[in-house]
């Protein structure tokens, strides 16, 4: 079909009103004809421009109420205060829902930020020329090294019978608070376990579940006033195993 004939059908095409057979033929024609394609594009864009510009006017709340009342939708005629009984609990539920949503978002944002910082610490350690301050595969050497350097104490798990091996430890800081960073090896991967004093992170009662972000897998939990983070570029099941070892020992 010649372009002239297609031109007459471009509006119907843009409106989705062209019969299927013709629409398919036109769809085949457009990629081969620059001028018809440009014309079709322009019509679609004009249509979209009208769609946006045309949504211009909003009725007032008063007018909406007036129409609703005229349709008997509202019970105002019978009991002028009755709508408040419906609205008040509904508003309360709405406020509570919105607050929860806000808090959840805030908590999620806080959690994401914490994971981001933990990932940074982990990556910085791996990139460091001296990744560990105390090099030892013996937990009885590593644990005492932290004494006097951090304001708390913790237990390290027994790794016998597992695929994890301890590489060493170093001091880490999260939000100006000193903590312990333990580095473990699993196959060719290195994992970090961070232990800090619990602050108001909002994570206290969260079920420890591995979370994947920034291509790292994280798990975090709180126990006895300490906040633990396990991070590494390994599957969630490995993070979970190491976390479980720590939970059993602490």
């Amino acid at each position: 079909m010649a372009c002239e004939s297609w031109r007459d059908k471009l509006d119907a095409y843009a409106d989705g009103e062209l019969p299927d057979v013709e629409a398919r033929k036109l769809a085949q024609h457009l990629p081969q004809c620059g001028s018809c394609a440009a014309d079709a594009l322009q019509r679609v864009q004009l249509k979209r421009a009208v769609s946006i510009a045309g949504r211009a006017y909003q009725p007032t709340a008063d007018f909406r109420r007036q129409v609703e009342q005229s349709l008997g939708k509202s019970s105002v005629q019978g009991k002028p205060w009755a709508w408040k009984l419906v609205i008040a609990p509904a508003a309360l539920v709405l406020i509570i829902s919105l607050s929860l949503l806000f808090l959840m978002n805030r908590e999620n944002a806080k959690r994401s930020r914490a994971f981001g910082e933990i990932a940074d610490l982990h990556v910085a350690t791996l990139a460091s020329a001296t990744p560990v301050d105390v090099v030892s595969t013996d937990r009885h050497t590593v644990k005492p090294w932290f004494e006097g350097k951090i304001p708390f104490s913790f237990n390290l798990p027994e790794l016998q019978g597992t695929n994890f091996s301890l590489v060493g430890g170093r001091l880490a800081y999260l939000a100006q608070s000193p903590g312990a960073q333990l580095i473990y090896r699993l196959r060719q991967h290195q994992l970090s376990v961070f232990i800090f004093q619990e602050r108001e992170t909002g994570d206290t009662n969260r079920d420890p579940q591995p979370v994947t972000a920034l291509s790292f897998t994280f798990e975090t939990w709180s126990k006895n006033g300490l906040r633990y983070y396990v991070v590494g570029d390994v599957p969630a099941s490995d993070i979970q195993s190491l976390s479980q070892l720590f939970r059993n020992s602490s």
């Binding site: 509006d11 119907a12 409106d15 009103e17 440009a38 322009q42 019509r43 864009q45 004009l46 249509k47 979209r48 421009a49 009208v50 769609s51 946006i52 510009a53 045309g54 949504r55 211009a56 006017y57 909003q58 009725p59 007018f63 909406r64 007036q66 129409v67 609703e68 005229s70 349709l71 008997g72 939708k73």
Partner: protein, 172 residues
């Protein structure tokens, strides 16, 4: 049918009907009167509404007919139709880019300047996203007429937008 059923069907259309009424009347107070009149008439005639037919088209048709018979509507429809062709633009490519760049206010002003017959069909098609068949029901015309009116309305709108865009481009 009970009034609640009508309200359940009709109230969700409230915002759309008001927007359409405002575009037709070009006045917020008249738009409110028109919408209120539409709901009153529709409620009264609801028993005659055939279940299964297009309720939205029916409501828009009532609104449009109410406008058509109002003083503003009579005046609006009496004038303006003839200058549709004069405004139409067939000019090709270079200016087309102006349409792509036209902002919402330019298109809004161009829509406002169109004769009401062009404006209403563009709103029904592009804003309300009605099918040609629905538009035919609202305007009570054959589908062929819908297509030709739509075509002329779009040409006219293009003409207005280009004129405004060129005016802006030349600092007019």
């Amino acid at each position: 049918m009970p009034a609640t059923t009508f309200a359940e069907l009709a109230l969700p259309l409230f915002d759309q009907l008001y927007n359409f009424a405002h575009w037709l009347t070009r006045d917020p107070v008249e738009a409110e009167d028109l919408v209120q009149e539409t709901y009153t008439k529709a409620l009264r005639g609801f028993s005659g509404f055939e279940a299964g037919t297009n309720f939205r088209a029916w409501m828009f048709r009532i609104l449009r007919n109410s406008f058509l018979t109002s003083r503003t509507g009579l005046k609006a429809f009496a004038s303006g139709e003839e200058d549709l062709e004069a405004l139409a633009s067939d000019r090709p490519t270079p200016e087309q880019t102006l349409i792509l760049e036209a902002d919402r206010d330019t298109v809004r002003q161009a829509l406002a300047q169109l004769p009401v017959a062009a404006r209403e069909i563009l709103l029904l098609c592009d804003v309300e996203e009605m099918s040609y068949e629905e538009i035919a029901q609202v305007l009570a015309v054959p589908i062929g007429t819908v297509m030709s009116r739509l075509h002329r309305a779009r040409k006219a709108l293009r003409g207005h937008v280009l004129k405004r865009s060129e005016g802006v481009a030349h600092g007019v």
